[in-house]
Assembly symmetry: C2
Homo-oligomer: 203 residues x 2
DNA sequence: GTCTATAACTCGATAGAC
DNA sequence: GTCTATCGAGTTATAGAC
């Protein structure tokens, strides 16, 4: 580890510990010990514990922005040949997931942990992880409706339902993975649910 | 406050504080101060902080058990005259909600806060707040299918989708209420979503 | 940029008088 | 069942030597 990477090591270590033991359950001491430096040295890289959390929020915001823009770009280019709604949707889902690295998965956990307690986390969850996702799904459903890939289903509320389905599965699968369930099985379950949902819109 | 009610006051105070500041963010000192006794006195009623949390879980388990049994009883009695699926469903929802007092709403928040961090809370969330709810909805959907109130929609997965919708709305509405939104508006939104979902099964 | 040392405070929990 | 008093450990953060 170079000196220049210490800040990054602190960041990634904090994400892991915050997601595992919670923000309040993790001390600056824990992070420093795991990184291999003293607590006081950590303050040369971050102004304090809360500054680390701010950095984590900024990171996640960046990841989401990039994913949404990538999907916006994809929408208006090379997917015109995809006429099957399920295939169309899965292509978009794969594109979106490209931007979701393991770190951003852990950050989602931190945000859900803190959303009731911390104003910034709550705002992020409502704006980015819920509203922005709903808007994105709405735009994509509209696109599919124009191409007559799906029926007239009340796009506004249906998009909401899809996002709630996704969030519910994300939470449940994370919990079940913590209890030792096989991630492969969970992924297949996820694909099954998504497929059924989109098929329901197509018929 | 009688002496005999001190334990109950501690319990309810803990529920409020845990839901507002989190389990780790609330100290035994906070609870004692709010109740109006010294910390040491609190230990005459609970063996410790964790024992209070255990009591909270037991309370919620009891609430859910009673609500589920009430709905089971209702299913096989006086709702035979209800042939409209939305009316049928709303009658059941109202019956279920009768058992959900404000305390149990706050406890749900505590559980979601702790589900990633605490094994007992995670188990409760998965078993009671997710699986038991799915099973209940499945049973009711089967009942409705037998009476030909709904179409053949793949009851297993559809019940899951309904529970995820409910959980998603519960979380989002709690967050928005924390940010000062009008509970009345949120309740109407909830009714709108439920109605649309059940209508979608009826057609 | 890292360290030692320490300030200033909060935590859960207990002993023992009344 | 409530209190005072206290313990031992943990908390974030800073000062200053190297």
């Amino acid at each position: 580890m170079d000196k220049t990477n210490t800040r990054d090591t602190i960041f990634k270590t904090a994400v892991v510990l915050f997601s595992r033991k919670g923000y309040h359950g993790t001390s600056v001491r824990d992070i420093a010990r795991e990184v291999g430096i003293k607590e006081s040295s950590l303050y040369n890289h971050f102004n304090g514990k809360e500054a680390i959390l701010d950095g984590i929020l900024a990171y996640q915001m960046d990841v989401f922005d990039k994913a949404v823009h990538a999907l916006d770009a994809l929408k208006s280019t090379d997917v015109d040949d995809l006429t099957d709604p399920v295939e169309f949707w899965m292509a978009g889902t794969r594109e979106f997931l490209k931007y979701m690295d393991p770190t951003s998965g852990l950050i989602s956990r931190i945000l859900i942990n803190e959303m009731y307690l911390n104003q910034k986390c709550r705002e992020f969850y409502l704006d980015t992880m819920t509203k922005a996702r709903k808007d994105l799904v709405k735009a994509l459903f509209s696109e599919m409706r124009k191409k007559e890939m799906i029926r007239d289903c009340g796009i506004e509320m249906t998009a909401d339902h899809y996002v709630y389905l996704l969030q519910g599965l994300e939470i449940e699968h994370t919990l079940r993975e913590l209890d030792g369930e096989d991630p492969g099985v969970l992924k297949n379950e996820l694909i099954g649910h998504i497929t059924l949902f989109i098929q329901g819109l197509a018929q």
